[in-house]
């Protein structure tokens, strides 16, 4: 049973991690494409339309990947997590079904019009399609976050006579206080990915001396949006999310920070390796009192350490949780520094000639993906050992009749298939980047 549980967990973790590489770009890029289309509509500068068409091609490839890897996510609730689905489907089925009904139809309809209809639609209608695609994808994000928020911080439910989780208030589900910061943090994270990818491709073109006019648009929009978004990741959204965790999942906070002893004026660990046997942080480099301040806004506040929580409440992989969290924060901080530097040089009108900075910007491309993935790992590992926090343990939600062998069979199948998908994706995106936003290109795709 234990090994079946591990296989099913890895099955979901692997497929969701791969899946979310794509929506984080499309949700962020959707907003930036709206900005490009708006600029085109307002200025009449054809460069903006060409830039939009180029990004729509990248968007379309990512969107297709997101769709095909997204379907398995919905299925896996039933296939691999059937006892969870049976118990809680009446609650989270609401938000998952609403995602299908309210956002997927919107998104797919207007994406079809947006990608295939530029010649047939008026400029205004084409702009409107881009807005509706963006709205659909952001709405989709909302319903998924609402689902996850309920698993992190279940509200508006009661337990039925046969152990079923029953929905008690529809608005309580949709207005779960956990949603606000998690949604903003996640969506702004998508904007970070979108803007840094845009700026990074722009930097590549500038360094290579190709498509210079378009590249400046990419870098300008990417750096401005990226500066705002990376800052908003730390404050207020990251801060707000952190306080929710401190209040409702204090054991998770202690594990994320590698805090074993309850401490007044708790330090924040920059580097160190949590050793759960010795119950200590090895090789620590810490800044005193900062954790207390960030959590309670008082330098001397008491923060509860892991030792003061029963061991069966501890997240079951504390080192991985700790590293995920630290990687997220570390990369986030470095991206803020990079964006501020770029914004400064742009303001001084010298960014386009600053080759070292353009190099850094180009090489930044993978990092928002890593930070976002690490952020989600923090959220979901931090929820352990619960599937629904405080209500259902992960071990109790797995499909009891699907053996480890069958789970492993399909996990290996997904790994092989996704490897091929990944290679095809990189190949196609590379071709589009190589082809570039050529002025001669006709309608998109």
């Amino acid at each position: 049973m234990d090994s079946a549980l591990a296989v099913h967990r890895l099955h979901f973790a692997f497929t969701i991690t791969f899946h979310y590489l794509f929506p984080q770009l499309t949700m962020g890029l959707a907003l930036l494409i709206v900005i490009l289309k708006t600029a085109a509509l307002r200025t009449g500068d054809e460069h903006y339309n060409q830039a939009a068409r180029f990004w729509v091609k990248i968007f379309a490839i990512n969107f297709a990947m997101g769709v095909v890897t997204g379907i398995p996510m919905e299925f896996q609730f039933g296939t691999n997590w059937s006892r969870f689905s049976k118990a809680a489907g009446g609650v989270i089925g609401q938000t998952l079904a609403m995602e299908g009904v309210y956002s997927f139809f919107l998104e797919s309809t207007f994406l079809g019009l947006f990608v295939f209809g530029e010649k047939r639609l008026s400029p205004f209608m084409h702009w409107l399609s881009s807005v509706l695609v963006c709205a659909g994808s952001w709405l989709s994000g909302f319903f998924i976050i609402a689902t996850d928020a309920w698993m992190q911080h279940p509200t508006a439910y009661k337990i039925g006579p046969n152990g079923q989780v029953l929905l008690e208030s529809f608005w309580g589900l949709l207005l779960n206080p956990w949603i606000l910061w998690q949604y903003l943090h996640n969506m702004i994270g998508a904007v970070v990915t979108g803007s840094i990818v845009m700026a990074s491709i722009g930097a590549y073109y500038l360094l290579a001396g190709r498509f210079v006019e378009h590249a400046r648009i990419f870098v300008r929009i990417g750096v401005v949006a990226g500066t705002v978004a990376t800052l908003a990741m730390i404050f207020p959204t990251g801060d707000g999310q952190g306080r929710m965790i401190a209040e409702h999942q204090p054991v998770t906070l202690a594990a994320m920070e590698g805090l074993f002893d309850t401490t007044e004026g708790a330090p924040i660990a920059l580097i160190g390796q949590p050793d759960t046997d010795k119950m200590a942080l090895d090789n620590p480099i810490v800044v005193p009192n900062v954790l207390s301040f960030l959590t309670y806004q008082r330098w001397e506040a008491k923060v509860k350490g892991l030792k003061d929580f029963p061991r069966d409440q501890w997240p079951d992989n504390i080192p991985l949780l700790y590293y995920s969290y630290h990687i997220m924060v570390g990369i986030g901080t470095m991206l803020i520094a990079l964006m501020l530097a770029c914004a400064w040089w742009m303001w001084r009108k010298r960014l386009y000639r600053n080759r070292p900075l353009l190099w850094a910007l180009m090489l930044a491309l993978p990092f928002p993906y890593i930070a976002t993935t690490a952020g989600w790992m923090t959220a979901e590992l931090g929820r352990q050992p619960w599937l629904v926090y405080g209500v259902m343990r992960t071990a109790d939600g797995v499909s009891s009749r699907v053996s480890a062998a069958n789970g492993l069979f399909t996990l290996i199948g997904f790994m092989g298939l996704y490897m091929i998908l990944g290679i095809l994706f990189l190949f196609l995106v590379h071709r589009e980047i190589d082809h570039g936003p050529a002025p001669s290109a006709g309608a998109a795709v």
Binding site: A60, I61, A64, V67, V68, T69, I71, P72, E74, F75, F77, G78, T79, N80, S82, S85, K86, A87, A88, G89, G90, V91, G93, Q94, L96, A97, M98, E99, G100, V101, Y102, F104, F105, S108, T109, F110, L111, G112, L113, F116, G117, R120, G160, L166, L167, E168, S399, S400, R401, V402, S403, N406, F409, T410, L417, L421, L424, L428, R431, V445
Partner: protein
């Protein structure tokens, strides 16, 4: 009462999915046979290009609706048909990328390869969907907890030891394959012209005879395997209207195809799918997943449904949401109405 309403709504969603995604699956099945040149294959793909993704959303929306209205059914069926559903997922992935990626590169190796993937995955999906329906009609070995697990196949007999694939479910799969092939033909006929249209029309007409034979066979065997079908049609004889739709649709497909009434033929093909699926859902009601071992263990609309509060609330957002979705669909189909250009 509310559970019966949701039973019907879920059935409508599934029928909507099959009718809509059915024609692009069908186009995939037949395009290897009727579209010979690269230009003809591009025409086929262009006829479904703007809509196939939206059609597939019906699967997600239907799945989501099933999930929240009948969570115990979703949990049991999805884990019980685990291997078949994973195959469905892999095929959907391969099919999706073959449609999206084919046109990116002009190469004598690249395009025929993706055409083959598109055709093969569409064909297997049609078979698997049919087999899934066959499993629901035949029943599955549910245990006292309301779960089961079926291997892909065992001895190919639809008895107590049956796997997902047995001769009966294979027969239903075959019916689905032929029905969707015809559905795809009638779509291609509607959306294209010239040689491609003629070949699609002729291919559909040939398949029609096979469809009649398959339909007769599965009707005969379904009544023998699932006693609830007899009960249902005896207790509620008005239900004969559903099989009547099938008969009318088959006649319509034949006559209108001969007379080159292309839109009417396509609609008749839609009606056939509606008739078959409603007959099957009517026939298993009030079960949602019958048991082929112990009738007491079967999942019904009452023991598989979510609590009434959620179901009533669901109506409040589902109805306006699906009306909106219907408006988008009409909008996009009207926008891309008419024949695709070369």
């Amino acid at each position: 009462m509310i559970t019966t309403v949701w039973f019907c709504l879920v059935a409508i969603m599934i029928v909507g999915y099959v009718v809509l995604d059915g024609f692009d699956l069908g186009a995939g099945i037949i395009h290897l046979f009727v579209a010979r040149t690269d230009q003809e294959r591009r025409q086929v793909l262009r006829s479904i290009g703007p809509v196939w993704d939206g059609n597939e959303v019906w699967l997600l929306a239907a799945g989501g609706t099933l999930y929240f209205a009948f969570p115990a059914l979703y949990a049991a069926a999805f884990s019980g048909f685990y291997l078949a559903l994973m195959l469905v997922l892999w095929l959907l992935i391969l099919r999706g990328i073959s449609i999206e990626l084919r046109s990116h590169i002009e190469s004598p190796l690249w395009r025929p390869f993706w055409d083959l993937v598109f055709g093969g995955s569409s064909a297997l999906l049609a078979l698997l969907y049919g087999a899934a329906l066959g499993n629901v009609v035949r029943g599955v070995p549910l245990d006292a907890d309301g779960f089961f697990f079926l291997p892909l196949w065992t001895n190919l007999q639809p008895g107590r030891e049956a796997g997902i694939v047995d001769w009966y479910t294979l027969l239903v799969g075959g019916t689905s394959f032929v029905a969707l092939a015809i559905h795809g033909c009638s779509w291609i006929v509607l959306k294209t012209g010239g040689d491609l249209q003629e070949r699609a029309r002729a291919f559909g007409q040939k398949c029609w005879w096979a469809l009649v034979a398959f339909t007769a066979a599965i009707t005969f065997f379904s009544f023998r395997l699932q006693p609830n079908l007899n009960t249902q049609f005896e207790v509620r004889p008005w239900g004969y209207v559903f099989p009547l739709l099938v008969v009318l649709a088959l006649a319509g497909m034949y006559v209108w195809s001969e007379r080159r009434r292309d839109l009417a033929t396509f609609l008749a093909s839609c009606l056939y799918l509606v008739g078959m699926l409603t007959s099957a859902t009517f026939g298993v009601y009030p079960y949602v997943l019958p048991s082929n071992v112990d009738p007491e263990a079967a999942l019904t609309i009452s023991n598989a449904a979510a609590a009434p509060y959620g179901l009533y609330v669901g109506l409040a957002w589902w109805i306006p949401g699906m009306l909106l979705a219907g408006i988008y669909s009409v909008f996009v189909y009207r926008h891309f109405a008419g024949k695709v250009s070369d």
